[in-house]
Symmetry: C2
Subunit: 254 residues, 2 copies
């Protein structure tokens, strides 16, 4: 008899942005798998046990969690943000597809959460107010050429772009290259938002024009949002500007 | 002296997906502006007052809410899902930019929420597990040509596509046209998810291959997710299939 596996999105990192559904799912599980910083956010009871692992071992972690659940246990895999956006829900599905047929019987629940781009956007106005896309800048699992192609296609078609996984120690040059490529198709005045740790005590939100955007303005905890040519900035006295993308757009070739 | 204006995302529509932050923001406001179905979700105290309006009057509603807040009142504008995704936060920013200069002094907060595509994705696996975009199919405020251009650019570059506002009485043909256009660039086997009222009692989630997708499978409460060529379907005995987009992708021209 198989147990239960919940893949839970814990939101950007403050308690006010964890849904009641996520809190309930955490309360109902006994074994917790996840990247250590997310596991550390949990306030577990003595009868609950955490198995933290490194960021790079998503598939192994997914398999381990599924095996535990298949033994009849109640298991949770936790992600920051939304569990389904560049996070553990896809890894769990991959493991199920590649695993033994009985794994498909598992009682699987995915609990959505506030994903980083939504939290960052809310702090600055409404940059995602119209058509947008989300791109992971990590070339660990896809070729850089494909990332570049997607960025240029999206910018050329007028999408606002949210970049996840913009930079890390092992991927130092990709974000700079992305800004370079985008500068060829977007005005230098396009607003770029560096949203670090949105909603957490160490939050830092910074807006610069694309022409001045530099890779060292981001770190691993940053979600970068690049406006479209329609995106507007409203200056305010004594307050950070508002950045928003209007609900209307005027034509294919702007 | 200006009051406060909170633009609040109430999530997809079940209490388990409303954040504590949104609940707090609702508790702190006295006047509520919004589309009636969202206003109806609130359980207001006798000292709180709701001003419901029609769906088409976003800008007028935003102005009215700002004017009320400028009189020193504590005002909330409520949206379903996330307030910043095809919703009221952009309309409020538009109104501020076009309004008198003193409107820029307003104490504005945007409270993010679980947006529809995240709720739908969670019910079916992880279709948004890799690069994706969100497109509003409404041509009330942008030309249809631009929408078509964006859909084709996104599909051609391998993005999963979430469609918001797919259909309405006054926009009956757009979704069918979108499926037609996408069929020219995507395999007929590409999974299409019709996610209606995800997480609510009247939820209905349906998966069909693109070749069989029809506009009448959606209504106003539906978020449609169209897979990429990488998106996979895992059949399961006695359960709906899982649909997910792997974390890896293999090349620009797949």
């Amino acid at each position: 008899m198989s147990g239960r596996l919940a893949v839970i999105g814990l939101g950007p990192g403050n308690a006010g942005q964890v849904t009641p559904e996520a809190i309930r799912a955490v309360a109902e599980a006994r074994f917790f798998y996840g990247y250590k910083p997310y596991i550390d956010r949990l306030d577990l009871r003595p009868d609950q046990q955490a198995i933290a692992s490194d960021n790079r071992e998503e598939l192994a972690r997914a398999r381990e969690a599924i095996e535990k659940a298949m033994k009849g246990e109640s298991v949770a895999v936790v992600s920051g943000g939304d569990a389904g956006v560049f996070a553990m829900a896809a890894a769990v599905c991959e493991a199920i597809e590649a695993g033994p047929p009985e794994w498909r019987d598992i009682d699987l629940t995915v609990v959505p959460g506030i994903t980083a781009m939504l939290a960052v956007a809310a702090r600055i106005g409404a940059p995602l107010g119209h058509d947008f896309c989300a791109v992971s800048l990590s070339d660990n699992l896809k070729p850089w050429d494909l990332i570049e192609l997607r960025l240029l296609a999206a910018a050329g078609a007028g999408f606002v772009i949210a970049l996840y996984n913009p930079i890390s120690k092992s991927r130092p040059w990709q974000l700079g290259r992305a800004f370079e490529g985008l500068s060829a198709v977007l005005p230098g005045t396009t607003p770029v938002i560096f949203g670090r740790a949105a909603g957490r005590p160490d939050e830092r939100i910074r807006i610069v024009p694309l022409a001045e955007a530099r890779a060292d303005m981001a770190d691993m905890a940053t979600c970068v949002i690049i406006g479209s040519p329609e995106t507007r900035t409203i200056p305010r006295d004594g307050k950070p500007p508002l950045v928003y993308t209007p609900r209307s757009a005027t034509g294919p070739s702007r």
